[in-house]
Each structure stands twice: as C-alpha cells, then as structure tokens.
C-alpha cells in the first residue's frame, strides 16, 4: 500500500484534513500529524469509517532538530 505523510491538519474541516481524507479515499495509507489530539482523533475516525487507514500522530513532544 502506498503511504502519505501530511503535516498541518489542525482544523477538522481545514485544508490539511481534506487532503488527508481525499488521499485516504484514493487508497493511500495516510499518516497525519497535529498538535491537537482531539482533532486528530476525530479525523482518524472519519477516515477509518470511510474505509481508509490513518493512524494518528500527535505533535505534542518538542524534539531537537537533527
């Protein structure tokens, strides 16, 4: 399965979320990241209910750039 990584999915109905939903519907396994866990969970649920795959990933930890 092809995979996609999308960062910037802050708003439930924002561009990032819509991109995630579109590419998930196209069959890509979408990995999304957001600072807001609740929004991420809602998006993940929506994608999975539509038959797609999108494990959530919260950008809550600040890690040193490598």
């Amino acid at each position: 399965m092809k995979k996609a990584v999308i960062i910037g999915v802050g708003a439930e109905q924002g561009l990032g979320a819509q991109l995630a939903k579109r590419f998930a519907s196209e069959g890509l396994h979408v990995f999304v990241a957001s600072r807001t866990q609740s929004r991420l969970d809602a998006l993940t649920l929506e994608i999975e209910q539509a038959g797609g795959k999108a494990p959530p990933f919260a950008l809550t930890q600040r890690t040193k750039s490598r």
Partner: protein, 172 residues
C-alpha cells in the same frame, strides 16, 4: 516530525507540508522571537519535513513532495513581513528541491493559495470577514484538494512545479 516519518516507514509516495501562521505584525515593534517563530513554522519546518521525505523517496526513485504556499510566497505586504519572508523562503526551498531531486524521480511542487479558504478556520475565527467575502469570494477547499491530487497524479514527462489558485473575483 522525524518520528512521524519513522512511523510511516517504507513505501512513502506522498508528503505534504501544509503549515503556516498568517499572523500580522509591524517590523518596528516586532520581537525577534515572533519573526523566528514564523520562519520556523513556515520555512524551517519545511526544510526538516522535505529533507525527511526525500531521504525516504530517493532510494525508490519516486515520490511526490508538495508544499502549501500563499500569495505571500510571491510578494511582501505591509504588516506581514514575518509571514511573507518565511513563505518566500519556503517557495525557493521547494524550487531548489525540485531541481535537486527531480532528476532522481522526485516530483516537488508548490501550491500558491491566493486568498481566503472557505473552511472552518475563517468561519470560526473571522466570521465577519467570511461574511464580507461571501462564498464566491473564498477559495473552495475541494478545488484546492483537486489541485494537489492533480500534481500527485502527473506523469514525470509533464510535471508542474507550481500551481496558483484563486477565486474568479480575486484581485491579483
């Protein structure tokens, strides 16, 4: 961010960097920290993200890396110097990466969104502006997503580097 790519693992075919903070501020009273924060979100983060994406795509010789830009990517505007300069930096980074990794099979693209997006953000945080612009004055999200999908599905024999999207009534 690196952990996100590590979680995705192999088989990465698409990466989209869609962040930005369109916050205003006059230069004369702007803290260095404010400027740096804008640069980190709009430009430096794009470098980290893009680097991780191409590190994983180059070995397979294919992949699409897309960056979200704005009208700010092309021009400076009073009171938006921090955002403008960061977005312009992201655009030239994207262009450099397109030239650097295109020959290795990686399609790097930049999408300029020229105007307000008809999404949750403006309706929730700037309802008066949303009302003033009206549905015809805001860019339809589905149309923007169509643009990203178009870029993703392009053949290497006919790649677009940049799309600019706006409503029919946007002055530009």
């Amino acid at each position: 961010m690196i952990k996100l790519f590590e979680k995705a693992g192999s088989g990465l075919s698409l990466a989209i960097y869609n962040t930005g903070n369109n916050y205003p501020g006059q230069i004369i009273e702007m803290d260095a920290e404010y400027f740096e924060k804008s640069w980190k979100s709009c430009c430096f983060g794009g470098f980290l993200f893009g680097r991780e994406a191409v590190r994983r795509m180059v070995p397979s010789g294919k992949g699409t890396l897309l960056f979200t830009g704005a009208s700010a990517s092309l021009r400076g505007r009073a009171n938006f110097g921090a955002f403008n300069s960061a977005k312009a930096g992201l655009r030239t980074l994207a262009q450099a990466m397109a030239k650097e990794y295109g020959p290795q099979g990686i399609h790097v693209g930049h999408v300029i969104i020229d105007g307000a997006i008809a999404g949750e953000k403006i309706k929730r945080h700037l309802p008066e502006l949303a009302k003033k612009l009206g549905e015809d004055g805001m860019i339809k999200i589905e149309g923007i997503v169509d643009g990203y999908e178009y870029l993703y599905n392009q053949s290497p024999q006919a790649w677009t580097f940049e799309l600019d999207l706006r409503t029919s009534i946007e002055k530009w």
